[in-house]
Symmetry: C2
Subunit: 428 residues, 2 copies
């Protein structure tokens, strides 16, 4: 590679960043993908790691491996710590400086607690593989603890999970947990009365799945309730403590676990780098996804405040990031070639889907088409398998899904923790 080729730096190896990098495979540029982790995380299946259906390694893929065969791209692990838009240069942690001609910011979003007391301290987010593993570990440990408790109220709290947020993540988590309780932990803990275990889904709006049609939101609610989830809409979480969740209507839910799926905001680095941000901390971009006043800098995906024809902000979902990544790659390619670029970014909504549990999902397609039940579920399965990166991950996920489906088991219900019997105090 000649150093004289235009340098494209992409910050973030999520859906948007990877889509941009791959779409630049044939461009006459050098691509560097920087991510704080050494892997891409397939976020749509994090909830299955949290509910013990899949292992962490099934849904993560080493970023460097993605570019073995793309000769104009490389991946490095690092954190962006500085941006000099005049010198067109970024700084990574450790001090390395990289010059860019085109910079694509695709940092994604982080969990937002909206200042609700106790969420940061006692709640669990679900934005990366380690957080998913922490949820799994915590829930399994609370069941182990419950078995040793004599106080029935404490026992029930140990077996109760509150999920804040009735969007796709919250709905999928709720379905996943109630199935884990009913079909696996009931058999694992014969001495516990798992009927007293509760999964409570709390949503501030008056319906679930706000991004979907009302009919599908209602279908999801009915299905979840049929499965045993308690759905509470029209009320927000007011306060969280180690073993209770208080709602705004002063209901107190005795629960040792709160999963916070009630909101995200753009990665805080955007504001720290003095980029202009809008609602949710999202970086203001123009119609071509450029950051105004910063030549050669683009922002895409959950980080960016891209808008549709009506000026409404696009949802923070994977398809927006994928399409924006490809769009920016086309814009950069055109700039390098001296040809005409694609111009304004237009998001084409191909639909949304959420799985609810065994044999059930809701799928919203354009033009009012909808799928529910088994057909929706099969569509969900196929799409997620196809979107996973790497044959190995697909094969592993398929094996585990087949196993879970046929046996009603969850092979990953493992508590993996550090523990050094040598240095531990030995009891007498």
């Amino acid at each position: 590679m000649s150093l004289k080729r235009p340098q494209v730096i992409i910050i973030g190896a999520g859906f948007g960043g990877l889509a941009a990098a791959r779409a630049l495979a044939k461009a006459d540029v050098d691509v560097t993908v920087v991510d704080q982790r050494n892997h891409h995380t397939f976020q749509p299946l994090l909830y299955q790691v949290a509910t013990a259906g899949l292992g962490v390694d099934d849904i993560c893929y080493a970023t460097r491996g993605i570019f073995h065969r793309q000769t104009n791209a490389r991946a490095v692990q690092g954190r962006l710590v500085g941006l000099d838009p005049d010198a067109k240069r970024i700084t990574l942690d450790g001090g390395a400086e990289l010059a860019y001609d085109h910079l694509v910011l695709a940092l994604g979003a982080v969990t937002a607690d909206f200042g609700v007391p106790g969420v940061a301290e006692f709640g669990f987010g679900l934005k990366n593989a380690e957080e998913a593993r922490q949820i799994r570990t915590h829930v399994l440990k609370r069941f182990e603890a419950a078995e040793r408790m004599s106080d029935q109220r404490l026992r029930a709290a140990a077996m109760t999970i509150v999920i804040a947020g009735g969007g796709p993540t919250g709905v999928e988590m709720a379905g996943g947990f109630v199935e884990l309780f009913d079909r696996v932990l009931r058999r694992d803990f014969p001495e516990l009365n798992v009927d007293t275990a509760r999964v409570v889904l709390v949503e501030g709006q008056d319906r679930l799945l706000g991004g979907f049609s009302a009919r599908l939101g209602e279908a999801a609610r009915r299905r979840l309730e049929w499965m045993g989830v308690e759905v509470r809409t029209g009320v927000n979480v007011a306060e969280v403590d180690v073993s209770s969740v208080r709602l705004e209507d002063d209901t107190v839910l005795h629960a040792d676990t709160l999963v916070w799926a009630a909101g995200v905001r753009a990665h805080p680095l955007a504001a720290a780098l003095d980029l202009e941000t809008g609602r949710g901390g999202r970086v203001i971009v123009d119609a071509e996804l450029r950051v105004p006043g910063h030549a050669g800098v683009f922002a895409i995906g959950d980080l960016a405040a891209a808008v549709d024809e009506d000026g409404a902000m696009l949802p923070q979902v994977a398809p927006v990031a994928l399409q924006a990544g490809r769009h920016v790659a086309a814009t950069i390619t055109a700039a390098v070639d001296g040809s005409t670029g694609p111009g304004t970014f237009r998001y084409r909504d191909k639909g949304s889907m959420a799985t609810i549990g065994r044999n059930a999902a809701v799928v919203e397609l354009p033009k009012g088409l909808r799928l529910t039940g088994l057909l929706g579920w099969l569509a969900w399965l196929v799409l997620h398998l196809v979107m996973l990166i790497g044959f190995r991950n697909r094969a592993n996920v398929l094996v585990n899904w087949a196993w879970n489906y046929l046996t009603y088991d969850r092979g990953s219900r493992l508590i993996i923790e550090a523990d050094d019997p040598i240095t531990e105090p030995v009891p007498r």
Copy 2:
């Protein structure tokens, strides 16, 4: 279950403890298996987790799930903290007390550093899934760090692994790492000169695989050296520091990673419980694997100082634990039935095996039969697949092995770490 049935408590869900529990499936007893973890760990494949070939979830199996179909057994997670042999009662952490008629101690072994300075602080053991994951994480992070270093010597140290101990674990680790370096990390890090990466295997005896015939030890050495491992026999590690390993001959190896596979000792709980112990902290047992002076208490596996016909201590390997577990189960069954028990425990050595790398293993069978190369490797593969618990784990391992074999890839080269972008200091 009536409480009047004889109570059998088994401490430890390793090979020995599980074999005993399963062999009691038809006995008229209640079996309780207690383990400090909630899962069985398939220790023979831990080295593949450490070398990024398998995920943690592939080789662990939830203990409670093992007994879903065995109606006279249950599993609990807990630590033994007290033993009252007179009252025939044990205490678990948290205070729960359990009465036993028969107690099987199968606690296994822990890493022994033999007092070598720095091993406990800077070395990595390989006795459980979390330790294997820590090795994988550390090695991958050192490669990421190496890429940012300008000092060639520091770079080489970051890419150098010293493995202490030339038994099967050390040999398998060495082969696994040199393959990871050569075939995967070389492609992942095109800017590093991976030729300067070293895998050094250090063994105090003058040959590898002391438990095998000299010919197989020599075959393993030749194969490892052909693959690129530096084998140093007849010298021990004298001292370990954060980025160096000093040998007893005063050679200093500049290495940021030391894996300690040079020895184990019986779980320290044995001595803490005032049981009589012999060499390596192993619990003294009689010919029937009973703990003398403690009615109804047995010790098996790596924890026990069981001996062969000549009075020599049996090796601390899985087959001894498996056979001892079944033997103790037969003894207990006979005691419950009032029939004649199996009497003296006789270990039948069916052979030993160690894999060295792709297409290569050494297998020592009784009567001087030996396998090496591809045939040994296939035997090793089949045996380990069969011994794994659970169809799901077998299928996952098979998928990953096929993937690794066909592509020379290692899908699990993932650095999974906690990290909370919300609370992290945001750089300016």
